[in-house]
């Protein structure tokens, strides 16, 4: 086949229009070529078919490009389906519930154990106190009347002394408290007045005399309880 305008071989595709536009060189008068109408009919069939294929090809290419774009624009993992999310939600909730139940069981168990521990401890201390008291009473009975008249005279004296000691302790404690309150108020006043005169002039006061000394830190403790505490701890 020869043609005036061959489809260029520069990569351009043969289009239906190309086929339509093809003209054939007239053969010699003596040697006639194909019947022109037949060639023309066939060419138009080819043109139709080629047109259909080109359109289809273009559509497919568009589709590929569109899909490619979709792939490119979603580099992250494809979003999980709602169903997958739902399954994981249920799984997590189940795990949470198990942990919560375990913690609840642990809480109930330890609080029960603690209650029992405290009850038993209280009972034991009560018993110990009763035993000590009984022992003391027994000791008084044994020691008290035994030495006769002399011993009997000593006993009230000791009681009297103890009473006096208790009174003095209470008196001392009250005086200390009042003295300390007074000193605190005094310190506050002094600070206030100094601060008013010259705020920067309030010095650190290393010379302040602590109003409470170690021996008065705690309230007088009856010996019986000190003994208890030492024995119990």
């Amino acid at each position: 086949m020869s043609a005036h305008e061959q489809p260029a071989d520069d990569g351009r595709r043969l289009s239906p229009a190309d086929v339509d536009a093809v003209t054939f060189t007239q053969a010699t008068m003596l040697h006639p070529g194909y019947v022109t109408t037949e060639v023309d009919d066939f060419l138009s069939v080819v043109a139709g078919e080629l047109g259909r294929l080109t359109t289809e090809n273009q559509q497919l290419q568009d589709r590929v490009e569109e899909l490619q774009q979709r792939v490119d624009s979603a580099p992250a993992p494809v979003s999980p389906s709602d169903q997958a999310v739902g399954i994981l939600m249920t799984a997590q909730q189940t795990a949470d519930r198990y942990v919560a139940e375990a913690e609840e069981v642990s809480r109930q168990m330890t609080s029960t154990a603690r209650t029992q521990y405290e009850e038993q401890l209280a009972a034991a201390r009560e018993k110990a106190g009763a035993i000590i008291q009984a022992a003391q009473e027994a000791a008084t009975r044994v020691v008290g009347p035994a030495p006769g008249a002399g011993g009997g005279g000593e006993h009230p004296d000791a009681e009297l002394l103890q009473e006096q000691v208790a009174y003095l302790k209470a008196f001392g404690s009250a005086v200390r408290t009042q003295l300390r309150s007074y000193l605190e108020a005094l310190i506050a006043d002094v600070e206030h007045e100094w601060g008013r005169a010259d705020p920067a002039g309030v010095p650190p006061s290393p010379t302040r005399i602590p109003a409470q000394r170690p021996d008065v830190r705690r309230q007088p403790v009856p010996a019986r309880f000190e003994g208890n505490a030492a024995g119990g701890s």
Partner: protein, 379 residues
């Protein structure tokens, strides 16, 4: 950024309660399975926290000056969880997916607002985390002593591998391999020391996963992780007033650290420490308190028992005993303990005429109320 639209979107998700964060985390773990290991087994409490934090951000998004410090603290604090910059886009994508899922009116405009806001938030957090690169994200600390002092209370002595700077009275978060990914706050009971020892007082709460593990499961030689210090009762550096320290239970730890600081750094001042416990047997640190009293003539410790008729100590709630021994008008006051103790003490001191600005408090609430059997946090 269309802030009202964003708030509307957030409100729609928040209205679904626990379901929204549950959806968010499920989406995150499905798209980025590697993030699952940053979280504890039970996510119940985590979910509350996420939406609480998000809610705060959304509420303050038009007040950047107030918001930025919060985000910076969050960013710094997230280093210890193993969060890195690469995790932020993953979280952002799942957050947007969650908001879209719960908002029928979700569109490109509101998506763009949220993207912009999230990128801003992530940037502030990542930058704050990066700025902190000089310090470790957490400190490994070996248990060198573990003493069960009472049924519930243990005193731990730890030695950190790297030096850990904190102010006495501040808190550190603690994580143990016994309960991975669960961090709880505790106050060291000492000022930082050259030998890097840290003393912690831990009370096992019934059903508390971390505290019970620290008290009953931890042993000498174990290694725990400590997070960076935050907040707490910090001694006012501009005051040299005498001190009144009030502690309930293991609230003793931060005030003991303050005593330690006064002993080490001065200035010379009188310190009265009031310690409130239920019974005499709950005095778990007597040996050390007696030693401190003997070493320091300026220190006076008074113990108060609230539920011990047999005891020869002061009776009553610690706040009541403190005020009975007043007035304290010349003092700076530091109070640490559980909520009711702190509230009661502060109210009584205020009623006795002490100016409120002299009182500093720290509430040592159980860091997490155990969830109930339905897996719901008791908030």
């Amino acid at each position: 950024m269309d802030i009202p639209a964003m708030r509307a979107t957030f409100a729609k998700a928040a209205a679904h309660g626990d379901e929204a964060p549950l959806w968010f985390y499920s989406h995150l773990f499905l798209t980025h399975p590697e993030t699952r290991e940053l979280f504890p087994v039970s996510m119940a409490h985590q979910r509350d926290r996420l939406f609480a934090a998000l809610g705060e951000v959304v509420a303050r998004v038009d007040d950047l000056e107030g918001l930025v410090p919060v985000l910076q603290q969050l960013g710094r604090d997230h280093r210890k969880f193993g969060t890195v910059a690469a995790h932020y886009p993953a979280v952002g994508a799942s957050l947007l997916a969650t908001l879209a899922h719960f908002d029928p009116a979700w569109d490109d405009a509101v998506a763009a607002s949220w993207t912009e806001a999230y990128e801003l938030v992530a940037q502030v957090m990542v930058e704050a985390a990066d700025a902190d690169e000089g310090t470790p994200p957490w400190w490994d600390a070996e248990v060198v002593a573990h003493e069960r002092r009472t049924l519930d209370v243990a005193v731990l002595r730890l030695v950190t591998e790297q030096p850990l700077e904190y102010a006495p009275g501040q808190s550190l978060s603690v994580e143990t391999d016994l309960r991975p990914k669960l961090w709880r706050w505790y106050s060291p009971a000492n000022a930082p020391r050259p030998d890097r020892t840290v003393e912690l007082h831990v009370k096992a709460r019934d059903g508390g996963p971390v505290s019970t593990a620290l008290v009953r499961g931890l042993a000498v030689g174990d290694v725990v992780r400590l997070g960076p210090p935050v907040g707490g009762l910090r001694l006012d550096p501009d005051s040299d007033r005498d001190l009144l320290l009030v502690a309930g239970g293991t609230g003793l730890a931060p005030v003991k650290a303050i005593v330690d600081q006064v002993a080490r750094q001065g200035p010379a001042r009188r310190v009265d420490l009031y310690l409130g416990v239920r019974t005499e047997h709950d005095l778990y640190d007597e040996a050390d308190l007696r030693r401190l009293e003997q070493e320091h003539r300026w220190l006076t410790v008074t113990r108060a028992v609230s539920h011990d008729k047999e005891s020869g100590l002061e009776h009553g709630d610690v706040g009541e005993v403190v005020v009975r021994h007043g007035p304290w008008s010349s003092r700076d006051v530091y109070v640490a303990g559980n909520g009711p103790t702190v509230e009661d003490t502060v109210a009584r001191l205020a009623a006795s005429g002490l100016p409120a600005d002299r009182v500093r408090t720290e509430v040592y609430a159980p860091s997490r109320p155990a969830p109930d059997v339905n897996g719901e946090g008791t908030r």
